[in-house]
Structures are given as C-alpha cells and as structure tokens.
C-alpha cells in the first residue's frame, strides 16, 4: 500500500527531474516576473530565468535545459504577433538559423565537456558577466545618447556605421524585408555564436542577437525583433531537444509552471510597455542587464561562503 503524504497548505510541488520540492507560487511568480520583463522589453528573458533558477536551488543542468524550453513558449507568443505585422525577415532568419543550429550542437558538446570538467558553473557565469556587462554598457550608452537626441530634435541623426569588411565578403544575398544586400557569412557567424550561448547559458540570445543585428548587420530596427524571435524560437527548440536527449535534464513540470506565469506576465508587460517611451525602456533594460552582470561578476570575485560544492551522479 502506498502512503501518500499531503500537507498541501504550503503548495509545494515535487519536480520529477530536478528532484527537489519547490513552492508553486514561487515558480509562477518567477515565470511571471520574467514574462513581465520580456513583454516590456521584447526579450526572451532567458538571461534572467536561468540565474534565478540557480538561486532557488535547481541543479544547473536542469535550469539551463528547462530555461531553453521556457524560451520556446515566450518566443512563440512574440513571433506570432510579429508575423502579423510582417516584421519577420524569413530568409535572414533562416540564414541565422543555419548558423544557430551548428552553434547549438557545438554548444551542447561544450556544455557536456564542461560538466565533466566541473567548470560548467564557471563557464556559465563568465559568459553572463562578459556578455551582459558589455551589452548592458553598449545599450546604456546608446540609449542615453538617443534620449539626449530626442530632446534636441534639431541635430541630425548620425548615419548608421558602414562596416567595410562586411561588404567585401563573398556569397552576397539580397534580403528583401531588411532591404540589405550582404554576404551570408556575418549572419551565419552571428547565428552560430548565439546558438553556442543558447546551449550553454539556457538563453534564447535575444539580448545579444538584437544588438548584433542592429550594429553588425545594419538591419532596420522594425524587422529586428521579429526576425530575432523567429530565429530564437527554432534554436531554443533544437537546444531543448538536444538537452532532453543527451542529458535528460528538461523538467517539464518546472517548464509548465514557468510558462504559465510567463505568458500572463508577458501580456501585462506589453500593455505596460506601450505606455513608456522607447528610449526609457531601453535604459531600463540596459540597467537590468548590467545589474545581473555585476551581480554574477561579484560572485566570481568575492570569496564564496562555501568553498566546496557537491554534484551527484546516478543513484545506485
């Protein structure tokens, strides 16, 4: 006879893959918070959810894999809206995709190698610090400049920088929606880099993809978000599958709760976002990205409270 314990006052849920028991409302709240931010800023929110999951004690491998699954849900919502506005450059998305799939495969190999070495946490933290730090600073600088410009409308907007090297590369293709005629090599490389990050960090990579498309590929801002979401959708779906197959670390129960919170939060966020100025939003996002980066950077620099850490293999 099986004895079932139900002291359901605390509303705990036992996560079958993570093998820990967590409060349901904590997970819904986390999902909701990240959804709110993703609705507000048009990012997947993976860069926030993965560190937050680490923080509540979800094993890193499960957090990364499940984070990727959660990104799929939030990017589906986003990409559907963008398709309606015809703001998705499908050929460009496919080229980024091709790079992304290769990158995500490489990323999984690297992920498994780092797990064996015991340096996964370090790699994830370093990646966060480097990318969040530099992108946060770039965005902050850019949006402060933009805000100043909007106050002094008489000044002409500086022309987009031309990257001489990019225009000299072979295999040029016409991307009609973006109005670009460039080589496929830079988007392939950008896609690949984001794929590697997606696999290691459990993020969609929107926070790196969006600036890369604007500043490196010179894509018009109106198609950037849609195309980035389209690419992120496929790459994070692929990453989820690879994690499920090679590490068996996707926790569907965890993902479901995060997604439920997330979809509601995302809608609230996009309503809220419509009332704020674009420049203000970008400054807020930049500050948020920087804050996460600084927090993780401090964790690496300051002496930890506990020098030792445990990781368990399979149960005998």
């Amino acid at each position: 006879m099986l004895q079932e314990q139900s002291r359901s006052v605390a509303m705990q849920i036992y996560l079958p893959i993570a093998e820990i028991s967590v409060n349901i409302f904590l997970l819904l709240g986390l999902g909701g918070l990240v959804g709110l931010l993703s609705g507000l800023f048009g990012v997947g929110g993976g860069f926030l959810i993965t560190p937050l999951l680490f923080f509540i004690g979800i094993p890193p491998a499960v957090a990364v894999a499940t984070g990727a699954n959660q990104v799929v849900a939030s990017s589906v919502t986003g990409v559907l809206a963008q398709f309606k506005r015809k703001a998705v450059d499908v050929p460009m998305g496919l080229v980024l995709q091709a790079g992304g799939l290769v990158g995500s495969g490489l990323g999984i190999m690297l992920f498994n190698y780092l797990t064996r070495l015991g340096q996964l946490d370090l790699a994830v933290q370093l990646a966060y610090v480097v990318f969040l730090g530099s992108i946060g600073l770039l965005m902050l600088q850019e949006s402060v400049r933009a805000l100043r410009r909007s106050h002094r409308t008489d000044l002409p907007r500086p022309k987009a920088r031309n990257h001489g090297l990019i225009h000299k590369l072979p295999f040029k293709v016409k991307f009609r929606t973006s109005g670009l005629y460039i080589s496929v090599i830079p988007p392939l490389l950008v896609g690949m880099a984001v794929g590697v990050l997606a696999a290691i960090m459990g993020v969609g990579g929107g926070f790196i993809m969006v600036p890369a498309m604007i500043y490196l590929l010179d894509m018009p801002t109106k198609v950037v978000i849609g195309t980035s979401l389209f690419q992120i959708l496929i790459v994070s779906a692929f990453t989820t599958m690879l994690h499920a197959i090679t590490n068996q670390s996707v926790d569907v129960m965890l993902a479901l709760l995060l997604i439920l919170g997330g979809v509601v939060g995302a809608q609230v966020g996009s309503q809220l976002g419509a009332r704020l100025k674009a420049e203000q939003l970008r400054i807020l996002l930049a500050l948020l990205v920087l804050a996460v980066g600084v927090k993780l950077g401090l964790d690496l620099l300051l002496p930890p409270g506990e020098l030792y850490s445990l990781s368990t293999g399979r149960t005998r």
Binding site: E4, Q12, Y14, V72, I259, L300, P304, Y308, R316
Partner: protein, 253 residues
Amino acid sequence: MTRVLAALIAILVLALPAQAEKVVAGLSAEDIGITASFDGSTVLIYGAVKRDAPEPEGRLGVIVTLEGPLQRVTVRRKSRAFGIWVNTGKTVVPEAPSYYAVAASAPLEKILPPALDALERISLPLAMQSFAGPLGENDTRPYAEALMRIRSEQGAYQLKMSRVKLVQDTLFRADFDLPANLIEGDYKARIFLLRAGTLIDRAESRIRVRRVGLERLVYTLSREQPALYGALSLALAVFAGWAASALFRLIRR
C-alpha cells in the same frame, strides 16, 4: 527420517535461550510514494524488546539509523585563480548515502562504545568512512567533511541526534523526518539493541521510496523515450505560447 531429525534439532535450537533479549521492529510505512505534492514525510520506526528471562543488569540502549540510497558524489573545491574563484580540486566519493540520520535512547557516547561504533559504523563520521574511505591522514578529509557539512545544512544528514523514546525498557519508537528533496530508492533502517555497551541484537528493515502517478510517468518517459519527451515538452511550450497570444487577442477585442 533424517529430515524429521533435523527439524527436531532445529526446534530444540530455537527453543534454547541463545539470546535473552531480542528486538522486534516495525515501520509506519514500507512504501513512500513521491507524488507531485510531496513535501517530505515522517517515518516512524517502532518496536519492542522481547525477553524470556527477567531483565538483566546494565543500561539498555536502543539506536536506530536510517540511510538513503547510495550515490556517487563529486565534491569540488574552489580556490582563487587569475583573480576569480574557480573549481580547482575534486574528490569523488563513490558511495555516499543521500540521507542519513541516527536516533538513540541516550546520548551516543553514553551507550555506544567507540569500538562498536567503528565496527557497525553508526555515527555519521564513521558511517561516512565506509563510503568515503578512512578520514584521516590523506587530503580527502576536508572533502568528506565538506560533504557532511553541506548535506547537514540541507537537512539530508541529521547530525542533531533525535531521541528514541524507550518505555519501561521494553517499547521503543523513533521518528524520522524525511526531507522534501527525497530521491528514489530503498531506505535502510538499522536497529541496534545494546545492554551495558554490548550489542545484544540487531534488526534491519527497508522502506521503498518511489515516484508514483504523474511523477513516475514523467520521469520514466524522460529516461526511456528522451526524444518523445523532448518533443512533448516542445509541443507544450509551443501550445502554451500560441494559446496565450490567442487568448489575449480575444480579450482585447
């Protein structure tokens, strides 16, 4: 003929008072099911001391240990390299219990002689020795200590001795709180009966901890059909994303 004789001898041997005192033990639950709402459980181990002679002299002690399934644990140590804190050293403990707790009718040092502790590996540091190897001269010692410290903080190892309630030196019970982060497997309970520092009798029981229902289904699917499991997780995410945008579009209209 020989068979009947053997049986008779067996009965005679059993009837002989080989041991004056015996321990009889029972468990409150032989199976614990981990459901989605599982948030820990209490296990009650109870029993009685059976005597067929008047109670001998000396102090009676009852010690109960509960041990979770063994796992391979890698303990890593951070140290400063290039200005940041990096994992630099590691030790693998091939078999460490996922849970360990000891309960006794009196403070361990009063009823358990160190030699017996070393033999039966009852107290946590000694129980760990059988898994981690001798904690002594070699440099794995800080790692084994860290394992015990971290697991104790998590509540998986219970250093704080819980009490075995002993009634009239005959009936006893021990309560163990199993944490919510329980892993599947067989949990082994050992009961030691001591009289004046000597082991008189011992008993062992097992508690099966298994995922049940949805938890079982999800876990099995993820291990046995990982591709199908991944596809289902994706389908769920895509559906949730689509449903959310469809729903909110309806609301806005």
